[in-house]
Each structure stands twice: as structure tokens, then as C-alpha cells.
């Protein structure tokens, strides 16, 4: 009754082209943003920040990036961990080479460098398709991790081989390292993620996004109607890597504070982000957030219930957790292969008809 497209009369082109044409959607997003910007910073403390909010936000951005490539352009990538590492190591090099540089520039450089690396590894995608592309990106994963481990220049030749964050400021506020205020860290990461989500939303409803989707749905047909596949696929690789690079920089600088190529950005990281977009929903911005939320919260919940409630030993609980995660993934795929975002769509469809059932 209230939630519908019909009966909304637009009087300007701007209103017609709006990102969220339905008022309720706008109010909802606004409400979420107000809670995220006002209520959460007041309540946030270290545990919640580091265990829940920061991983959720940075993985949302990573999932968003991967979703641009896999969900919108149909190219399966297993190199996410490697690209996250590129972002993190670029951020480290920038922060140590130019101390005092605003974090926003650091993140943008990380994104740009990662985009270039992504372009490079995206090159074979014109010749090969399907799972062959996935294996090509696996090459990126293993090669990049090896590179960051082997070449001392990337971690400034320190003895541990680890990279550790140095204090980084954004608009004069400390946002990285242990000493930063939790609220400041949170607001910085949140703002970056919100801006990039908006950018992603606009990319995919514009010309480039439509080209990606055309190539995803039928690449030969897309070619026949005049979409050049090579620039299209490469631009998807570049945009996706840019997002993932920024996410990687934030994983290192804002969330973890230290990183080691193989430990932090291994192949499991690639699978984790892939799980997020599959469970959240392929080809959906909202889905990236839902998936990231699910995959960050579920292990914590599982661990808490298994260890605290059932009183299992930590080792047993860890194996149990791995198993339960597998079961849940398979369960989700069977029940809703289109992901959590699809559930949200069903709710929306019901809302359009409400209060009438048909």
C-alpha cells in the first residue's frame, strides 16, 4: 500500500534518474546511515570495533569489489587474497615513504596500484573462459603472495617480514594504529565504505555496468551488438581490483594494524570473500553487505554458542566450527542459491502488495 513505484509522479529528470526512486527506500537508507553515523560511534568500544564492525565494513568493501567482477561481469576470481595484499603493501610503502600523508591519498594509491595489477592479471581473460579464468586468478594469488614474501623491499627489509602500521591521519585525526580512538577509526572506515558503495551503485547502473552485465549474460551476443569484450572485461578487473585494493589497505592499516603476506592474505581469504558474495547474492550491492555481515558474525556466534553454551573444548569447537560453516554454506546454496539479497527482494515484492495477498 505504501511501498510501491506506481503513483509516484516525477516532475524532473533528476527525480526520474534517482538512485533510489522509492521514498521508503530513501528513508530506510537514511535511517541506517543515521544509526551508523550517530548511534554506533557513541556506543562503540574496542571489542565490538575490532571483532565485528571493522571486519564487517572492510569485508563489505572487498565483497563489493569482487561482486563487480564475479557478480556483474561473470568472471570468477580466486585471487582476492593476492589483490588485498597488493593494497595492504602499497599502503605500507606509502605510509612509511611519506609519513603524514593523508590516509585518503594512501587508500587511493593502494586502489590505483591494485587496479594496475588487476589489469595485468586480467589480460588472459579475453582468451579463456569460465573456470580457466578462476585458475588464472589463482596464479595471481600465489605469485603475489610469494612476491611479498620474497622481495624485502616490500616490507622495508625488516627482520620479521611483517608489515606494521605507522600512525596515519585523515583531516588531522588519527585513524590508524593502537592509539586511535575507536570511534575515529570506525567513522573513517565507514565513510570510505559508504562512498565506495555509492560509486559502485552508480557504476553498475551506468553504461559501464550495463556493458559488464551484457558480457556476463551472453558474451558473444554482447560482442555482436557492438560491445568490445576486451575493454569491458579489463575495466571490470580494474574497478574490482581498485575496490579490493582499498579494502586491503584498510584491513592492514585500520583493522589489523599488522600483516604478513601468506598469513593474512592467503587463499582462504579469497574463498572467504567469494563465500560472502555467493551467500549475500551475486550481482547485488546489498548482497555484498549482507554476505559480509553473515560471514563475519557467524563464526563469532558459532564459537560463542559452542564454547560457552555447550562447553566444548576450544580445539573441538574449532573443528566443529569449520564443519558447521561448511554445512551452513551448502544449506544456504540449496535453500536460496541466489543469496540473502534475493530474500530481501521477496520481502519487497510482498511489501508492494501489502496488505493484500495477491
Amino acid at each position: 500500500m505504501f511501498y510501491r513505484e506506481a503513483g509516484l509522479f516525477k516532475t524532473s529528470y533528476a527525480a526520474d534518474q534517482a538512485v533510489f526512486p522509492i521514498p521508503q527506500d530513501r528513508y530506510f537508507i537514511l535511517g541506517v546511515l543515521i544509526i551508523a553515523y550517530v548511534a554506533v560511534p557513541l556506543l562503540i568500544e574496542d571489542y565490538w570495533l575490532n571483532a565485528v564492525m571493522l571486519p564487517f565494513l572492510v569485508y563489505s568493501l572487498a565483497a563489493l569489489g569482487l561482486n563487480l567482477l564475479t557478480g556483474y561481469c561473470g568472471l570468477l576470481s580466486l585471487g582476492t587474497g593476492g589483490f588485498l595484499a597488493v593494497g595492504a603493501y602499497t599502503a605500507y610503502k606509502m605510509m612509511t615513504a611519506f609519513p603524514g600523508l593523508d590516509m585518503i591519498f594512501v587508500l587511493l594509491t593502494s586502489g590505483t596500484v591494485t587496479a594496475l595489477v588487476g589489469l595485468l592479471f586480467g589480460l588472459p581473460s579475453l582468451r579463456i573462459k569460465g573456470f580457466y579464468v578462476a585458475v588464472a586468478t589463482l596464479a595471481a594469488q600465489f605469485f603475489l603472495i610469494w612476491l611479498f614474501y620474497k622481495v624485502g623491499w616490500f616490507y622495508n627489509y625488516n627482520a620479521t617480514g611483517q608489515i606494521t602500521v605507522t600512525p596515519g591521519y585523515s583531516f588531522g585525526v588519527l585513524v590508524t594504529s593502537q592509539k586511535a580512538e575507536p570511534a575515529a577509526k570506525y567513522l573513517f572506515v565507514l565513510s570510505v565504505v559508504v562512498v565506495f558503495a555509492l560509486i559502485a551503485k552508480n557504476i553498475i547502473r551506468g553504461r559501464i555496468g550495463r556493458m559488464w552485465m551484457a558480457v556476463r549474460d551472453q558474451d558473444i551476443a554482447a560482442e555482436l551488438i557492438g560491445i568490445r569484450p576486451f575493454p569491458t572485461k579489463l575495466s571490470a578487473f580494474a574497478a574490482s581490483s581498485f575496490f579490493i585494493g582499498v579494502a586491503g589497505a584498510m584491513i592492514f592499516a585500520n583493522w589489523l594494524g599488522a600483516a604478513e603476506s601468506g598469513e593474512t592474505f592467503g587463499i582462504n581469504e579469497s574463498f572467504l570473500v567469494l563465500f560472502m558474495i555467493i551467500i549475500g547474492g551475486l550481482g547485488s550491492i546489498l548482497g555484498s553487505f549482507l554476505g559480509a555481515g553473515f560471514m563475519t558474525l557467524m563464526p563469532i556466534l558459532l564459537k560463542n554458542t559452542l564454547v560457552d553454551y555447550f562447553g566444548l573444548t576450544a580445539v573441538f569447537a574449532k573443528h566443529m566450527e569449520i564443519m558447521m560453516m561448511g554445512v551452513l554454506i551448502v544449506f544456504f546454496l540449496i535453500v536460496e542459491p541466489n543469496g540473502l539479497a534475493r530474500l530481501w527482494q521477496i520481502v519487497k515484492e510482498k511489501l508492494r502488495l501489502w496488505p493484500f495477498p495477491h
Binding site: T70, L76, P124, R127, I128, K129, G130, F131, Y132, V135, A136, L138, A139, F142, F143, I145, W146, Y149, K150, V151, Q218, I220, A221, L224, I267, F271, L274, F275, I278, L282, V315, F316, H319, M320, E321, I322, M323, M324, M325, G326, V327, L328, I329, V330, L333, I334, P337
Partner: protein, 308 residues
């Protein structure tokens, strides 16, 4: 002589890769599923085999010598367990995902990999286990004395086993009724269904065969370096082999495995010192990628014909 030794040890390592790749190819051919759990299946089979041989009581990890089975009985029991597992996978997962997209099926096998990994650890414990089936260890004296070549016996056994396995599979695929049904399914699901071949039965059979191949791979790798978590990572080693040989081809898996094995060893020995060593993690992928640029469907893959 050193060069020859490198090539031989590369070839033998390649056979080990091919053993894993074989399991992938079987399942991909018959059901179009890219089964990421193949490596974990090898781990699970290995864990089960060791558990049965030492008489480990599931979940408690206590051992009771009275329950210990002799090797041959344990192998038969493990094969039976892998078959039950195949049945359960078909029943609980694949049946519900018929007609889904490739990526969904792929993800479900990733989920399966997690389940098997957790289950294997819970049932049999996660410590490194020694698998002792009485397979010969150490260097082959005869080759060392007569030819001056250092070759591990276990690798020779693996090569021999792989050869026998491939021969048996080839006969199974070409000559038996089930084998013909399998090839029909691989060719065209719908056409196979319409002539009365049951897809579900075929899938159970294929996953069982893949389970047995996983057991063989698990035994070979496990005898060499113990049964431990890293065994599940050999799946990642098999991927470049698959690309090189083509996803649908059994000879491709073998030849691809040999090429990767030799290429990797040569690169490690002659190229490694120049760029800093430890390149075996990614070299195979780069090699496969270079091949792909010239033959996108792999060496023996079916020619890709695309229509709108």
C-alpha cells in the same frame, strides 16, 4: 646425469599430481561439477585408513589395538566408506542442486570440503599421522648402483599404481556397460536421460570412483609425507595440471601432470636460484597460463564451439 635425475624426479612428481587431477576430471566429465573437495577427500580417505589401521575410536581419538585392522581390510573398509560418502553427497547436496549454475555447484563443493575437513579432524584427530602400509621407502638401490640415479622407491610405486589405475579406468570407461553410460552422461545429460540412464546412479558411481582415486592419492602422498592437513592442499597443485590437460580429458590429466612435474623441477633447479627460490607454489600456474594463451581449452580439451 644430474639433468636426467631432475627430469625423472619431475616425471614421478608429475604422476602424483596426475593422480589428484584424475579425480577432478572424472567428476567434471560426468557431472560438470568442478569438485574442489577432491584434495580434502584424499585427506579424509587417508585419515580414515590410518584410523582403521591403528584402531582409533572415532571422536575420542583413543586407540584400541583390538580394533586395529590389517592393511588390506582397512583399505576395503575405507573404499566402502568413500562409497557411502559418495551416496550421501549425491543424496544431500547434488540432488538439490540439479540445474544450478556452475559457480553454485563449485561453491557447494567448497562447503563440502569444509565439512569433510572438520569431520575428518573430529573423527580421527588432527595430529600428523604416519601411514605405514609396508610400501617400500628410501632410494632405489638398483637404479643407484647401476645407473647412478637417485630415485625414491615410493615414487616408482606411485607411478606404477597410477599406470594401473589409468589402465583400469580406461577399460572401465570403454568396455563396461556402466562405463558407456558414464560416457553418455558426460556427452549430453539430456540425451542420456532420454535413453533411460539414471543420472543419480551415475553420479553416485562417479563420486565413488573419485573417492577411490582420492584414496589412492591419499595413500601415495600420505606414505611420502604423513597424513596431515597440508594433504588437502594438493588439490591446488592439481589445478594447473587440469588447465594444461583440459578439464575433460583423462590422458590430458596424465600428460599435464608430467609436464607440470618436469617443468616445476627444472624451474626450481635451474631458475630458482636466480630469482630467489620457493617458486614451486606459483610456477605451475604461470606455466599453465602461458599454455592457455595459445590453447584456451587445454592440450586435450574439447574444442570450444560457441553459439549465441
Amino acid at each position: 646425469m644430474f639433468f636426467l635425475e631432475t627430469v625423472i624426479s619431475g616425471l614421478l612428481a608429475g604422476v602424483m599430481y596426475a593422480l589428484v587431477a584424475l579425480g577432478f576430471v572424472l567428476i567434471f566429465k560426468a557431472s560438470g561439477v568442478f569438485n574442489f573437495a577432491q584434495g580434502v577427500m584424499a585427506l579424509f580417505a587417508g585419515l580414515t585408513l590410518v584410523g582403521l589401521m591403528t584402531g582409533t575410536i572415532p571422536i575420542t581419538h583413543l586407540t584400541n589395538d583390538a580394533l586395529a585392522m590389517p592393511g588390506w581390510l582397512a583399505i576395503i573398509a575405507t573404499i566402502a566408506i568413500m562409497m557411502v560418502l559418495a551416496f550421501a553427497i549425491e543424496r544431500l547436496i547434488l540432488r538439490h542442486l540439479v540445474n544450478q549454475e556452475h559457480i553454485i555447484l563449485f561453491m557447494s563443493t567448497l562447503g563440502l570440503a569444509y565439512v569433510l575437513e572438520g569431520a575428518g579432524d573430529i573423527l580421527w584427530g588432527s595430529d600428523v599421522k604416519v601411514l605405514d602400509l609396508g610400501l617400500p621407502q628410501g632410494a632405489s638401490d638398483w637404479l643407484l648402483d647401476n645407473w647412478g640415479l637417485y630415485v625414491e622407491k615410493i615414487e616408482l610405486v606411485a607411478a606404477l599404481t597410477a599406470g594401473i589405475l589409468v589402465a583400469v579406468l580406461a577399460v572401465f570407461f570403454q568396455k563396461t556397460r556402466i562405463g558407456r553410460a558414464l560416457r553418455a552422461v558426460a556427452d549430453d545429460h539430456q540425451a542420456a536421460l532420454s535413453v533411460g540412464i539414471s543420472l543419480r546412479t551415475i553420479w553416485v558411481i562417479v563420486w565413488s570412483v573419485a573417492g577411490v582415486v582420492a584414496l589412492v592419492a591419499g595413500v601415495m602422498w600420505g606414505s611420502k609425507s604423513g597424513i596431515q592437513f597440508s594433504l588437502s592442499l594438493i588439490a591446488l597443485k592439481a589445478l594447473p595440471v587440469l588447465i594444461l590437460g583440459g578439464f575433460e580429458s583423462i590422458p590430458g590429466a596424465i600428460v599435464g601432470g608430467l609436464i607440470i612435474g618436469v617443468g616445476e623441477k627444472l624451474a626450481e633447479v635451474y631458475g630458482g636460484p636466480i630469482i630467489g627460490g620457493a617458486i614451486e607454489n606459483w610456477f605451475a600456474y604461470m606455466l599453465a597460463l602461458a599454455f592457455l594463451l595459445f590453447r584456451p581449452q587445454g592440450l586435450f580439451g574439447e574444442k570450444i564451439i560457441e553459439r549465441v
